[in-house]
Every structure is written in C-alpha cells, then in structure tokens.
Symmetry: C2
Subunit: 351 residues, 2 copies
C-alpha cells in the first residue's frame, strides 16, 4: 500500500528551519530558488530538466506529436493506493497513451497554499519521481506558485505531457466501427470509492485501494503486436458511463454493454450499494476501454491478461450498426436501459 | 486600455440559467461538457482543438522542441492593461520565445472556484483567444476542474506551451560571454505596480498599465536578422534584478548595469518611491533582457526600436571578464553596489 510510503524520509529543506511553505516561496527570490533546487530538482533530476531557464528543449524522433494537460485537485492528497503526485503523473501519461502516443516529457506546475507542510511537498515530489520512473517519462520543466492561506487547498498540481506517435493508426472515437468489441482492462470503481472512503472515514473489511496506474506500457504492447486499435479511453471523471456516452455520441454509433460482464470487486460493489452509487459512474485512474474489431479480440485479451498483467480484463460490450449514438446496458435480469451522463458527478474532487 | 474590454458581451451559457460555476461544472458529466463546448471550445476554436479526446495531435516541422509551463494566480484577475487570460497566454508564449523557440501550441488548465461568475469566465476565455491570435499560437487541449468555495480563489490558469527551434543557436545563460552587452526592450516595473495600484486602490495621476505583451515576434525578428543572441530572459517575478542574478550566477561571469540607463516611467518611479519599492525588483510581463556581443549592438537596437516597436529599448549594462558571477549596479551618483535577489518578493501573486 503506497499511502504514506515516504513518511520519515528526510526532507532536503530542514523542516526545523522551514516547516511550512511561506508566500515568499513563490515570490521569485532566494526562497523560491531554494525550494525548486532542493525539492523539485532533487526529486526529478534528469538530463533535460532545466531549472535555471524558462523551458526545456529536447529533440523529438517523430513528426507526429501528442500534447495534453490535466490539473489535479484531489482531496484528500494522500489516499490508499496513491497520492496527488502519482495521480498527476499517471493521469497525464494515460491521456497521452489514449492518443496512441508514447509519453516522453512532462511539465509540473504547483499551486501551493501558504502554510502547506514542507515534508508533505517532499513526499509528493518523491511520489512523482517514482511514478515518472515507472512510466518511463521525464519531468523536464515546471513552475511554482504560492497562494495565500485559505485561497487554495494544500496543493494543486498541473501536469502537461508531450509524447510521440510512431504509427499511422488514427486512435480516436471517429475510428470506432460497428462490430468493434469493447474491452475494459480491469475491475472498475476503485479510485472513486477509495477517495470517498478516506474522505468520509468509512471503513470496510478490506481497505479499497485506488487503481491509479500508468497505462502506456499496455498500449505499447498492443501497438507492438500490431493490434488494430480503433479507440482508447481512460475511465476517469464520470467513470465508464461518461466515457462510453462520449464515444457513442462522437462516433454516432450505438454501444451495448452487459452489466454481468462489468468487473468490480466485492468491496467496491458493497460500498456503492451502501452509499447509493452506481459503479459505472465512479472514477478510475488506471482503467481504460479498448475498441478493437472482433477478429482482434483474442489476441488483445491475451496481451492484456498475459504480457500486460491485467488478469481481470473483460469484454463488456460491442458497437452496433445503428446510428443512434446512444449507450444501452443489459441488466442482470435481462432488461435494457439507456445509459446517460450524470449532470454533475457523484463525487467532486476525485482527481 | 483592455481592462473590462468585454463587459456586456453575451456569454454563450445564459447567465440567467447558470450565473455562477457549480461544483458539477467540474464533475465529468453533462454540465462540464456544456461548459467546455460553449465557453472554451467556442472561444478557442481552431483545427487542432480536440475537446472530445484526451489530447491534441499535431505534426511538428522541426526536430528540436521547446516545452514550458506556468500557472497564473494573479490577484486581481482583471487589471489595467490586461487580465489573467492575457497573462496566461503571453507568459507562456514568452517563456518559449526566451528559449529561442517559435511558440505554436498551448494547453490551458482551469482550476475554478465554485461560485465564480460565468460571464467573467467568458471574458477571460475571450481574452485568451485574442492573446493567442496576437501571438499566433493555438490553444489545442485543456482541462477544467472546480474546487469548493473557499478552497480556491476565483480562477487559476495553467498554460503549457510547445514551440519549435529552427536554428542552431544555444540561447541560454551558459552562452553568455564577457563583452556581451545587455539590452532591455522597454521601461520596467509596470506590471507589478499596475497590480499593486489596483489591489490597494491607489490612484495616481495617470493609471499605470501592465506591460503584459507577447515577445515572440520580436525574438523572431532578431533571429531572422541572424543576430548572434547569447541569452534572453523575461523579467517576471523578481524583476530585472532576479533575472540578472540568475544569469550571472549560471554563467559565472560578473554583470555590471548602470542605474541611469534603466528605463522606467515617472508614474512607476513615483509609485515605487511612495511605497518603498525598487523598480529593478518589480515584476514585468512584456519585458526581457537580451545578451548580444557588442558588435551586434547597433543592429539589435535598430531591430528593437524600428521593426519591433520598442522605442524605449536601451543598453543597460554589460558582461565583465571576471568570474565572480555577481551583479553590480552603478548608482546615479557613481557608487557601485551589489545587487542580490530578495528573499521573497515585494508583492505576492503578481502573475
């Protein structure tokens, strides 16, 4: 369990001297330079990281580039299975992977509330370093701002990512075709319920851990095997339901899924039942749907289950030759209902 | 004066229906999609903007890529001469330009406080559009988060930028050489004092307007004329002083400037005197220092003053063959003093 993994590690800025972030740490003067050098440059050290200049410069081997961004405002900052730092790296890595890109470089922008504990910032920086190492990306440029106490909330992190696309597939909702099958790489609902349980101090028999994980290696395995991927989408805010509704609406085709095939662990199902949530709307941070032609189903499943360590990967539905652009789900008792997006979300600030 | 330029323009989301941002506008459901479509996609419309996918994909014509990020937390959001939207575009465009890159694509991540006025968000989006048009960049990907009331402050914006480098110059502090002259492109201190005056409700005879401006076209003019640029640096947080101290320290050479040559308008000098600030530490958002060999001085000055509309461009100092890595300033009465960074900054949240 990675929660509080780094408690006790020595913070490079002595917390006896600066136990908490001051407004001056964002002011462009000596304290800000010390913060960047000791915390961020120490944790993220890599050949492209340029802390004394305005940006990073690198060579790209490919003409086709993918570019994405996400801000992370999750509350609480540390939760079972991860923390805001791991989330900020994995989330942006996954957005690049969903474009079929190989993630290479990340930026990191921190908006820190005055008074934030220095050693928590260090823990988050170390967690980002580990996540970047695992996903084989480098954090190459960054920015630090400090806002007055009560005008932020702990720390918000923005990461933007640059990746390269070394193939000619157009992986996007517009490539979805009737007959495509839809695979999910693992059980759903863990991240949202882990946040909820931690936030509300709920305890279940087993702690629900976030599924927060990088997906780029799995996508690479599929591309290397020349799988004809039509579309990929990670299941973050709005969960499985919102992702499928977006894809159905953009592609124009109907999507049918079967409730009995949707994997979710007992703890998540139990917590959802108690709290009145539906797992298909709950956020995930290491789960995606994969759209491939039926003929690729077996090969894709074997890559997911064997070489990519997703033993719970499951076919959950298919794309129908029907231009309604809606999503329907066949329930356990056989009834079919239309799945729509929620107006808002069941839980705010889950990512 | 661009303050409140857009007051009265019709917001695409009827403010009778949604006068303010709700938590649900960040929840991944229907309201978030409406917000993104009606506000951001409408304002930023361009061929690369992909709101229904996880990232933008584009071809780059060059192998060498520059990548940078900045978060903007300025308070107040609207000020004489600009607003947070213009700042968020110009600031990141300028960071790319300082690497010698041609800025091409920006991302935009919004962290909005629950209750923020919908039409202020629209004004900011329009301002970003205008700034992007002026700087000839496209906003191609984005993200929207909403945080609870009292846990943010209006809106924070992160922009990351990607640019291409089509030349072989290494424009960075490590290229600085003894004998280089140092040019500033205009009068200093406007941005910080404009923010201060607005925040503290100070009025002077003339309103001080921020100098917020894109610098990429000016850098392009110098590169096109094949000026041997050694280093560029925009004078944001920490002002002229912090930029020069960083460059001197990284290059290892001493920098000497002359107080009498530093351009600042009477209003800025007056405001600084009243408030006890030194203009060389005050933030700017459209000013840079340019390091070139002395033989390039005349050509550089003529490009700045004539083709790039910087009539107040001035030579303010030079790099000395002395490996102390310090900055000194000769005062109006001829005394020489060492310039150091401040510990924090005179003003927080100026960018």
């Amino acid at each position: 369990m990675s929660e509080n993994k780094y408690t006790g590690l020595n913070c490079p800025i002595p917390i006896t001297e600066y136990p908490r972030i001051l407004l001056a740490h964002g002011g462009g003067g000596r304290l800000m330079h010390q913060l960047i050098d000791k915390i961020f440059a120490t944790a993220f050290a890599n050949p492209h990281l340029e802390t004394a200049h305005d940006g990073a410069v690198f060579d790209t081997e490919s003409k086709k580039t993918a570019f994405t961004t996400d801000s992370y405002v999750v509350d609480p900052l540390f939760f079972p299975g991860g923390d805001i730092g791991k989330l900020a790296v994995d989330g942006t890595v996954n957005d690049l992977a969903m474009c079929g890109a190989r993630p290479l470089y990340l930026s990191a922008g921190f908006i820190i509330e005055e008074g934030f504990a220095m050693d928590d910032l260090w823990k988050i920086a170390l967690s980002m370093r580990d996540a970047a190492d695992e996903a084989e990306v480098s954090i190459v440029t960054g920015d630090t701002k400090v806002v007055d106490k009560g005008r932020g909330h702990g720390v918000f992190i923005n990461t933007a990512g640059v990746g390269v696309i070394n193939h000619d597939r157009n992986i996007s909702p517009s490539s979805v075709q009737p007959g495509d099958i839809i695979i999910v790489n693992g059980d759903i609902g863990r991240h949202g319920m882990a946040i909820m349980a931690k936030r509300e101090n709920l305890s279940f028999e087993t702690t629900i851990e976030s599924d927060c994980a990088p997906l780029a290696a799995t996508v690479k395995n599929m591309l290397d095997a020349n799988i004809e991927i039509h579309c990929l989408r990670d299941l973050t805010r709005g969960g499985l339901a919102a992702s499928l509704v977006e894809i159905a609406s953009t592609s124009g085709f109907k999507i049918e899924i079967e409730e009995k095939n949707i994997p979710a662990c007992d703890e998540v199902r139990g917590a959802c039942e108690i709290l009145g949530f539906d797992p298909i709307y709950v956020a995930n941070e290491g789960r995606m749907v994969i759209f491939v032609p039926e003929k690729e189903a077996d090969r894709t499943m074997s890559i997911l289950r064997e070489s990519s360590s997703w033993p719970d990967a499951t076919v959950i539905g298919r794309v129908i030759d029907n231009r309604t652009g809606i999503v329907t789900m066949k329930s356990l008792i056989g009834a079919e209902r239309i799945i729509d997006m929620l107006s808002g979300e069941q839980l705010p600030r889950i990512c």
